[in-house]
Symmetry: C2
Subunit: 312 residues, 2 copies
């Protein structure tokens, strides 16, 4: 079956595994190519900063968030490359957060996705600054390139959503509570708080921003928001489960690091079986939120399944 979402959505009736694999690959490639165009070249002075920004941006990320953003955009009738600055900005914000999370004063990780973390390669100072630079750069990307492709009204709406998700009421708050819960017996409510903010907020925003970029009406944006919130939480729960079950060698640097540090995890707070049931339920609810969006939502449904059924 020929997949051509962006130019003729009516063609999609059933999406096979092969279609979906190719769907993910083509979108990953578009995201990678766009990031390569946007980011400062590696020889831009100061070279250590440009290299550090690129090193983490191209360190094997699965591009879940930007793919979600693009899938949401296309689900809502968007077509073409106008959404790419938004999708890339989301990935750069995610990248900045990983660089800072890995720092010795945070999770102290030497490896991520099997490669040395930013501070191991460039030193702590440049790692902190590369994270800072990526956040500023992501904002500039939405305003400049996003403003050009989508108009400044949409760029403002999208950027407001993104920085709220990333800031002191979202991702950063989740990371603070995560750090402060380390080594303690975290309450179930605390684990939920951490997950919905540290991972969930930016994932939900990715889905919303794609819909907004396509000019979706508020009620549709709300559906995508519900979908993204459920998928984001499911993603983190599955991450925790994979940590416990030890089958995360491909994704995680150190197999039981979060366990070793006694991080607040879903299986610890709720039990392994309940955690698995919760993830499956969230994926169903995520798909339910898309019920009346028809076949253009097929990739989003498959993404929800992928998040829960992955073994990496």
């Amino acid at each position: 079956m020929h997949l051509n979402l962006s130019t003729n959505q009516a063609k999609i009736e059933v999406m096979t595994d092969i279609d979906f694999k190719s769907y993910l690959e083509t979108r990953q490639a578009r995201i990678d190519a766009a990031m390569d165009r946007y980011l400062p070249r590696e020889d831009t002075y100061p070279v250590s900063l440009s290299k550090a920004m690129r090193y983490s941006a191209f360190s094997g990320g699965k591009r879940l968030r930007p793919i979600l953003c693009i899938a949401s955009f296309e689900c809502c009738g968007g077509a073409g490359d106008g959404v790419l600055p938004i999708a890339c900005a989301i990935e750069l914000i995610h990248t900045y957060s990983l660089i800072h999370d890995d720092l010795p004063c945070m999770d102290n990780d030497d490896l991520r996705r099997g490669k040395p973390t930013s501070h191991k390669v460039f030193g702590e100072a440049v790692a902190v600054l590369a994270g800072d630079a990526l956040l500023s750069f992501a904002v500039e990307l939405v305003l400049a390139e996003g403003g050009k492709s989508l108009g400044s009204g949409l760029a403002v709406r999208i950027l407001t959503d993104l920085v709220r998700a990333a800031g002191p009421a979202g991702m950063v708050a989740g990371q603070v509570v995560d750090i402060e819960s380390e080594g303690k017996e975290a309450e179930p409510e605390t684990v939920k708080y951490i997950h919905t903010r540290k991972t969930g907020a930016l994932v939900a925003s990715s889905a919303r921003c794609g819909a907004m970029a396509a000019g979706a009406i508020d009620s549709v944006v709300d559906r995508l928001s519900t979908y993204g919130t459920k998928v984001g939480l499911a993603f983190q729960i599955v991450d925790d489960i994979l940590d416990v079950e030890g089958s995360f060698g491909k994704l995680k640097s150190d197999s039981r690091l979060d366990q070793k540090k006694r991080k607040a995890t879903y299986p610890t707070a709720f039990g392994l079986e309940e955690a698995k049931a919760a993830a499956a339920k969230l994926a169903c609810e995520a798909k339910d939120a898309l019920a009346d969006l028809g076949e253009t939502a097929a990739p989003l449904r498959l993404l929800a399944d992928l998040v829960v059924n992955r073994s990496f």
Copy 2:
């Protein structure tokens, strides 16, 4: 003489020292009150993050950048509180950069303005995250509150300028080169590079953004940009001079810290006398840029003098 810049600019003919002192105080008070309104309350969960954001935002900063922004706004015919979200966002971006600069992996400062630095009070992890949060929050402030008071077109233009000044081609680049020049004999060109970016970029942007917020035409924004660039560089040169001459107890935590670390400074690269001459020349050039802006530019002229003649 009664000073009432915001409601009747024609009234200002001569600004005495007393007028200027009161000018600075009233604007500091407006900025502090607005920051207090905007920032998350201290009891907002997670409390450590909210406290850390506020601790550094209210740690005795002179508010040079936001005052420059307001003075530039008023110089260009702006009136009222519409510029306050922009002025406060600038100060929060400055605050985030200080928190990160003070980290053990950067300048490793235990004190700033006589008070323990963020990481000494809240720990390194929360300090990094408070800086991250302030940057995201500043962006949100410009979009949400600035968008409301100035319209989204101006908010976008201003925010684009600000994040360019703060990001990998501005402030962050300056900090990277500063860190990498430590302990080396820095070339005069390198010192200039560091100063124009690490300090100069955000100061120049402050002056530009104030003018933009007032709806100034491009040629006037350009004048304010020249003014801000000169003042920003002069500010940093004077900082270096005060470090050498040891009369900076009020401003710096550790009197000869930059010297001790063999930081790239203007007096080291150019000699003390040449540094002093350069600062004085820059202040003159800054004022020259305002030549045809009349008496509404009086506070900006006095600010240029203050930057060069300060002993703190």
